[in-house]
């Protein structure tokens, strides 16, 4: 039994590493071998500008961290070795800036926003969903259900735009200019209340957007799960035993109804992090998504590649965490080893 328990985590971790490995390999071949890949384009551009071919190849070598004179498999091994050392090459646009520095400057802001948003929306969604299930067919349920189904159907970038136009421009509740970026000019990242408040102020619009656009899913799922759990025999038995309502709601109904939501949470993490490109562009929030769209516009391939790998790795790790959380809450999973 104990061995199976250990194996579940081991297998889960192995799968995660395999996924990251495949993502990195895929990116390598996209950049290196696809017809019209950025390396060929870069070299032909340089040659067109009058650079001798060998010099152009040398420049491409240093920018893309490859050695084009070597066979492809040697290049691939060298690329993997560099990645393992956290070396993603240097940016084409911001010359001589290591890509990893750029990623590390922007990534924390996105993780900060995404973590807070998903946590709050999950918590509120579960609460509202339970409320809807207990008060089903009352006006509370109808209002919340309609709200949830409307808000889930609206794409998150549309919600973001409407927030800016309605609350920023029309009602003037906040200044659309100064709220941009991840912190105000002159504020230094440090452990102080001022910094935290400033960071939260700048992050507030993306956070509200993510909460609004994900909460509906949790509410509707939690409601239907709770309703079906309420009909289970063990809930009736618990009632018959005279357990308090609070205990039945949390330990008997809630715990079982919330379980399937964790699988969706894993998918949701990927969706929110992935959508950050759109949301951060709309609010001009200086996170990894905004950097990615800037890098795409300027065709800064080393940066695109690094951000993509880092985003995938974060999502894979977040998935592992969600899975572990799930298995902690549901002992059956550990036994089955899925």
């Amino acid at each position: 039994m104990r061995r199976v328990f250990k194996n579940y985590y081991l297998i889960r971790l192995l799968k995660a590493f395999l996924t990251i490995f495949i993502v990195t390999t895929l990116t390598f071949f996209l950049i290196r071998l696809m017809p019209g890949n950025p390396l060929d384009i870069y070299i032909s551009q340089q040659v067109a500008q009058g650079t001798p071919y060998q010099d152009a190849v040398q420049m491409a070598n240093s920018i893309f961290q490859v050695d084009l004179n070597q066979p492809v498999y040697v290049q691939y091994l060298a690329y993997m070795k560099n990645l393992l050392h956290g070396d993603f090459g240097v940016s084409i646009i911001s010359a001589a800036t290591p890509v990893i520095d750029i990623v590390m400057r922007f990534l924390p802001w996105t993780l900060f926003v995404v973590t807070i948003s998903l946590f709050v929306s999950f918590l509120l969604g579960v609460l509202f969903g339970t409320l809807m299930a207990y008060k089903r067919n009352s006006w509370v349920d109808h209002v919340l259900s309609s709200f949830a189904s409307i808000i889930t159907a609206v794409p998150n970038y549309v919600t973001a735009m409407l927030i800016v136009v309605i609350f920023g421009v029309t009602l003037n509740w906040f200044d659309t200019g100064s709220i941009r970026g991840s912190m105000s000019p002159g504020v230094q990242p440090e452990f102080s209340l001022d910094f935290l408040l400033d960071a939260l102020y700048h992050a507030s619009l993306p956070i509200i957007t993510y909460i609004l656009t994900t909460i509906g899913t949790w509410m509707l799922m939690m409601k239907s799960n709770t309703v079906s759990t309420l009909g289970e025999d063990y809930v009736n038995v618990a009632r018959a035993r005279g357990l308090s309502d609070a205990r039945i709601t949390t330990a008997y109904v809630g715990r079982n109804a919330v379980l399937p939501l964790f699988t969706t949470l894993a998918i949701s993490i990927g969706f929110v992090v992935g959508g950050s490109t759109l949301i951060e562009s709309i609010f001009q929030y200086a996170g990894i998504g905004l950097k990615l769209s800037a890098a795409l516009t300027s065709r800064d391939y080393p940066v695109i590649q690094a951000i993509f790998i880092i985003i995938c790795a974060s999502v894979v790790l977040a998935n592992v965490l969600a899975d572990l959380l799930y298995s902690l809450l549901d002992p059956r999973i550990r036994a089955e080893g899925r």
């Binding site: 696809m34 794409p155 735009m161 990927g270 992090v273 562009s281 695109i304 993509f308």
Partner: protein, 291 residues
């Protein structure tokens, strides 16, 4: 002739069941409206994309019912002609996603063994890689300017979770008594799959088609909005991008350029989602009991 009348009566029955769920039926009607407008509308209008500098950002008027854009061009004509690629890419991507998901899902469930393991392994990776960044990166390397190509790519990265669900359903359905009975009669696997198992999954597949269409519309408009995918010049996503970039948000008259495409996109998404609920009822008689 008899077949035709049979078809008509079954269509009538479908519509009657749908009409019982009023919200879902409204979703169906609205979806039909948007789809017909987007697909047929362009035949009936003359799109004039020449700039009229004296007409920039006019509010609604008799000449321009929904106002004009940042170059003085009529917004309503752009809306009518700009929906076609949105609907086309959405529907084609959803169709391909469902085709791939159902094929691979039933293959994995019916064949089993190493085929099952391989398909599952690939699906797990496809599901884990966040779709939108992958699309962005792919768009950086591949020219995504053809709607059909975009739909193909959307389908090739979107089949994972559908395949899993189909596999689970086929696995459970193939153990049912009636399937076992058909197998005992010596009927071929193709018969079991298409005549016994598939009809029981039709409702699920259709609902998935609609949900995948909303996903595809989301991704497509998002890509166009970021300026990554240069589709035709007049597309709801392109209108959003222009409105956002060229200051349409700052005055009441110019906001029409932003709000009208937003309204169309939200209307399409919302009616699709609503319709999928009533479809569930049409194909799933158990949900109808007690109405």
């Amino acid at each position: 002739m008899q077949r035709l009348s049979l078809l008509i009566s079954s269509l009538r029955q479908t519509l009657r069941i749908m009409a019982r769920n009023r919200v879902g039926f409204a979703g169906f009607i609205l979806t039909m409206f948007v789809v017909l407008l987007a697909m047929l509308g362009p035949f009936f209008i003359h799109l004039d994309m020449t700039a009229h500098t004296e007409l920039i950002y006019q509010g609604p008027s008799a000449a321009h019912w929904l106002g004009t854009d940042n170059q003085g061009r009529d917004i309503m004509m752009q809306i009518i002609s700009g929906g076609r690629s949105v609907v086309y890419v959405g529907a084609l991507a959803a169709f391909l996603t469902v085709a791939v998901g159902v094929t691979l899902g039933s293959l994995a469930a019916v064949v089993g063994g190493w085929v099952d393991s391989v398909i599952n392994g690939v699906a797990e990776i496809v599901i884990t890689i966040p779709k939108f960044p992958l699309l962005l990166v792919l768009a950086g390397f591949i020219q995504l300017d053809s709607p059909t190509g975009l739909a193909l790519i959307l389908a090739s990265i979107g089949w994972g979770s559908l395949m899993r669900a189909i596999r689970a359903q086929v696995l459970s359905l193939k153990e049912r008594d009636y399937v076992q009975a058909a197998r005992a009669l010596g009927l071929p696997t193709s018969h079991l799959l298409f005549k016994e198992i598939m009809p029981n999954m039709m409702s699920y597949i259709l609902v998935q088609f609609v949900m995948n269409m909303t996903d595809a519309v989301y991704s497509q408009v998002g890509l166009v909005f970021l300026g990554i995918v240069p589709l035709e010049s007049n597309n709801w996503g392109v209108m959003l991008q222009y409105a956002w970039r060229f200051g349409a948000i700052f005055s009441a008259n110019s906001r029409w350029f932003l709000f009208v495409p937003i309204f169309m996109i939200v209307l399409l998404q919302f009616s699709l989602v609503t319709m999928s609920r009533s479809l569930d009822e049409v194909f799933n008689p158990r949900l109808r009991v007690g109405e």
